[in-house]
Symmetry: C2
Subunit: 348 residues, 2 copies
DNA sequence: CTGAAAGCGCTAACAT
DNA sequence: ATGTTAGCGCTTTCAG
């Protein structure tokens, strides 16, 4: 092993003929330590290239300064934005981030939670997997006072934890209304797997808009996605138009599905928005330059990450000061980006 | 603090009236421990919900079972694929992943390296930031025997470390040749910041293809991107066509730039590929359904992540067994996805 | 097959 | 202002 032994506090202490405690304090900029010793310590430390061992500090202080993140998927514009937001806030506050990808699998989510618990993370940020119905794998965190904040895909039943979500219902309602108001009907919905809270809320929003417009829901206008790929979007659009050639509009659960659908419509010789208007959810950068530019419900991913991380850090602080912290649910607004794919007439 | 005290080995030991050493061994499935004790320990552990403290184990064993990853950007299809690949391999091998985002900033990269070193990661995976010229912030890893593997954007000067890259030169050469062979000339290049190894290689590939086709490079055909956004791609395409209305083709450093350029060309009333053929680099899923479908050089992100992580884990093992490990450079092939945006005639 | 003891590197009482 | 002591929870000799 080439590994040079790491420099420790003891090494510095020996070299300077003082105690490790003093060295530790000098390095931490403690109040009552002489300016002179502080100087000598800091100087030697940088000269010997001393680097503190966070594992040791963590063990001793019973805190790791690490937060865990469990996310269904990382190759996804929205989720990666959230992660970016989380990391910005966490690093600024001196916390590191340990990332796990559940891949939409309940089992993986359970072992991820375990692994992160074993790593003694100071807090946990989770967006749950499609398949997760049971949340007992987060119990040990809550029982041992490790704050957990859920974001985006959250367990709606749990009410003793904080959550950060976007207003999926409202966004879906607005999107559907936007189409219905233009007289676009029959209006279909390509929905996501209904186990996900987000997909469920979006479906509800769609149904509420229909009701508001005086239409009764029609199951032949609601098709369900499984893997949420472009291909699936295209496939469902083809199936939809075969079954319901009279369909005039589609509200898709994500931009991926919407873009896949648009492509299929184009291939079928159907023009959007003239024959079938389409709107998605998430607002990828790319959607705006598609042909036709895709309308979409924008959700603030970066902000969600920042807010969720901020909330978690506050809860960690509260826990440290033995303060109580009431779980809160923060609902972020979505914004409708109406572009050509959903606009039959010049903008109302 | 609500935090229930965590169960420790000592708790189990006391409960069973045996020593912590035995408990530790039983849990780790050591050879010489009686089946009976093993059973009792395992049973009590699961009953009391014992969870090992990896911090403590790490401190003692002088290994954290964590690998650090520093990446310029996470909201990026290619990079997030790489991360996914890394995580798959790491978690399967029992390693956790601590992620840092340098945001293309040298300073952030330096502090990230420091933070990860302090966390005593067992190995480091890095794709360097645009601005990084100096690599001494990785010295402490190498000096203390912590393996470092660079991927994608690598320090070309360093030769004592392993690297995993795609064949940027070859990919760019193929892409350019593909256009030149169709008689597409003048051929422009929207290049990336030349500090990045990838951007440099792509430029070289473009230049080599020009030379091969008997053309002399022309600086008015090479425009440089800074922030690599859609808008920048569009802006540069406009500037290019204003300066060189005779330009017949564009090889863009990434799909973002290519798509931005395509959009601008469309707005200028220029048809692709008929008037200006375009090809990108990275092959996003979305590129294939763009109008026109964008040709691109596909690079295997997921595989790069898997390979880089695998290599790093092997080096970590080697280091543990005090074996020597020769740094290697793995070059992954790219594949040209020729679609309509670059095909003037039916496929040659 | 099991236990005792030492110690990984750091910090926090408690002294002085 | 600094030192002494005592762990944090775990693994690993070394004994038996």
């Amino acid at each position: 092993m080439l590994s040079k032994k790491q420099i420790t506090l003891a090494d510095l202490a020996r070299e300077l003929g003082i105690s490790t405690a003093t060295v530790s304090r000098a390095l931490k900029d403690y109040p009552d330590i002489s300016a002179e010793t502080k100087r000598r310590v800091v100087e030697l430390a940088s000269q010997m290239n001393y680097r503190p061992n966070s594992l040791a500090a963590g063990l001793r202080k019973r805190e790791s300064n690490v937060i865990g993140v469990i996310i269904p998927s990382i190759v996804d514009h929205f989720f990666s934005s959230v992660i970016k937001g989380i990391m910005e806030v966490a690093y600024d506050a001196g916390y590191r981030v340990m990332l796990c990808q559940s891949d939409e699998s309940y089992e993986k989510e359970v072992t991820d939670a375990q692994v992160l618990f074993d790593s003694r993370v100071d807090g946990l940020l989770v967006s749950i997997a499609h398949g997760s119905q049971d949340y007992s794998h987060f119990d040990e965190f809550l029982e041992s006072g490790v704050p957990v904040v859920f974001f985006d895909k959250v367990p709606e039943q749990l009410d003793k934890v904080s959550k950060v979500v976007v207003n999926d219902f409202e966004g879906a309602y607005e999107a559907s209304m936007h189409l219905l108001r233009q007289g676009i009907y029959p209006l279909a919905h390509l929905e996501g797997p209904q186990i996900a809270s987000t997909s469920r809320q979006r479906r509800q929003g769609y149904l509420a808009a229909l009701a508001q417009a005086g239409h009764t829901p029609d199951e032949s206008l609601i098709l369900t996605c499984q893997d949420m790929t472009l291909e699936e979007g295209a496939m469902l659009a083809r199936r939809l138009m075969a079954a319901r050639p009279d369909c005039q509009g589609i509200f898709a659960v994500t931009d991926t599905i919407a873009l896949g659908a648009l492509t299929a419509l184009k291939a079928l010789g159907l023009r959007s928005p003239e024959q079938v208007a389409v709107i998605g959810f998430s607002d990828w950068t790319i959607s705006a330059i598609f042909e036709p530019p895709l309308s979409s419900v924008a959700q603030p991913g970066l902000e969600m990450g920042r807010i969720a991380a901020g909330l978690l850090l506050r809860e960690i602080q509260a826990e440290k000061q033995a303060e109580t912290f009431l779980p809160e649910t923060i609902v972020l607004p979505t914004t409708l980006q109406a572009r050509r794919s959903s606009l039959r007439s010049p903008r109302p």
